[in-house]
Amino acid sequence: MTPLFRLQNVTVRFGRQTVLSNVTFDILPQETLALIGESGCGKSVTLKLLVGLLAPTEGDVLFEGRSIAGLTPRELTVLRRRVGFLFQGAALFDSLDVFDNVAFGLRAHGGVGDVEIADRVSRGLADVGLPPAVAKKMPVELSGGMRKRVGLARALVLDPEAMLYDEPTTGLDPIMTDVINELILVARRRRPLTSVVVTHEMRTVQKVASRVVMLYPHSRLGPGESQVLYDGPADGLLDSPDGRVPQFVLGEARDRVTERRTDEIDD
């Protein structure tokens, strides 16, 4: 199966700081991939690479077999319209009310009348479990969970082929975490959707993911070593009922460092 996205030996540096190192993995159509790892290991950066918000320093990111770096601005815009993005803080536009936030993409893309926009916005809000009265509220009046749901509605009203979720449940209480997890599942059930979920929550991984990629912090790797510590089915990683990382993953991490130390001593 041709992957929707492919990261090929991707390295990202900001100045002298390396954020991602030699990362390679595929994202297949209609799968739900969970991207996990410690804070600062480059998970959110990886998501931004997928929509061309950042460019890799080395390596390549491919969308349907084409390098994102080689796309014209117009082609990049088309790609972004096919891929929804739920930001960590929802990234709602402060100066617009909820209705205008959700309608923003529809208006920007053009070709949609006011009546249809109103209809799609109210359906979008209903899909994420928000009452119509919320439409007139400003983002500052919303709770964290509501903001995430409005952000999700804003992305989903555009009928994307893929959804990227950047820590969708961070900062939410367990009940709201379950609500967001359920919305991710519902979105996938309602349409053929490829999803990438960056998260720290193993409960979210357990509930929504079909495959898991685990990144290891670059600072603890040797030169040229890949940060991808685990790439496989979610069931294979989550064999522990309390949601802890299984011993074989930790064992691999220790082996890498031990090999490095041995090499350094040999040198």
């Binding site: 930001f87 402060d94 920007a108 893309h109 603890r220």
Partner: protein, 286 residues
């Protein structure tokens, strides 16, 4: 063991770079920053003939830049005119050139002080606000969200602000000029009792339409520069409240230096042009 417990060895300490390495790095950063700004400015300005921005964003920015700044610019212009009159009177009165004071002050206000002071006031009042607003949008990922929704954030957010600045700031400069003339006239005619006929006669002989055009051209340049600089700082803001504050401060400082530098370039250029235009009719005070 939870994921956060994986900690096997500390990061190796980095060697401190030497003075030359730091200098080289700083020079490279400045060159990078200027190149980045040039691309940003090109993208914003070439967005003007496109429909990638909204008129309502322009009107909102023009209201902020123009209408909301009227009082502060008017008061500044008034007092600058008054201060110039007081300072100049002492010197000119001593050599019996009282009636020339109006010409000197009005020329200074129209060609230099009006455009420069209006631009500096607006760099402080509007420029920092734009840098902080866009910086906040950057750190809360609203700018990334615009990109993800298929909108060019530079053209959507910056282009209407540039248009607002280059249309509203010349109008504010005219106001500053007028208030400067009112302030100086009040002091010269009302307080120092300078002869009114000769005061205006010298002004009429000395201040030409060319000088007004120079002042307004400067104000358009200053408006465009301060907007593009402060917006660029906002777009490149670092994370957190400190990052946004720093972006606002940098925006003001860099735009202030740019205004003074552009003023110098314009002074050189316009003096040359003035020489070409008026060389055949002799010096102005002849």
């Amino acid at each position: 063991m939870p994921i956060s417990a994986i900690s096997l060895e500390p990061d190796p300490p980095e060697a401190e770079p030497g003075f030359l390495a730091k200098l080289q790095s700083s020079a490279a950063d400045v060159a990078d920053g200027f190149g980045d700004w040039a691309i940003f400015a090109f993208r914003a300005v070439t967005g003007l003939p496109t429909r990638q921005w909204k008129w309502n964003e322009y009107f909102r920015s023009a209201f902020d830049v123009g209408y909301s700044s009227v009082a502060v610019v008017a008061v500044t212009g008034l007092f600058i005119g008054m201060v110039l009159a007081v300072q100049t009177y002492t010197q000119f009165h001593a050599v019996g050139l009282d009636t020339s004071i109006g010409a000197i002050i009005h020329m200074s206000v129209v060609r230099e002080l009006g455009p420069v002071l209006a631009a500096v006031m607006l760099a402080g009042r509007i420029g920092t606000a734009m840098a902080a607003q866009l910086g906040t949008m950057r750190v809360t990922e609203q700018i990334d969200a615009l990109s993800c929704l298929g909108v060019d954030p530079v053209r959507f957010l910056v282009t209407p602000r540039v248009l607002a600045c280059i249309t509203a700031i010349p109008l504010l400069t005219i106001l500053a000029d007028l208030m400067g003339v009112v302030g100086s006239t009040f002091i010269c005619l009302g307080v120092f009792r300078i002869d009114e006929y000769h005061y205006w006669r010298h002004t009429e002989n000395f201040v030409k339409i060319f000088d007004v055009c120079v002042g307004l051209t400067k104000s358009i340049l200053f408006g465009g520069a301060l907007c593009l600089i402060t917006c660029h700082r906002g777009f490149r803001s670092r994370a957190g409240a400190e990052g946004v504050g720093r972006a606002a401060t940098e925006g003001f400082v860099i735009s202030f230096v740019a205004i003074i530098f552009l003023d110098f370039l314009m002074a050189m250029l316009t003096n040359t042009v003035h020489g070409w235009l008026y060389s055949s009719i002799g010096p102005r005070l002849a």
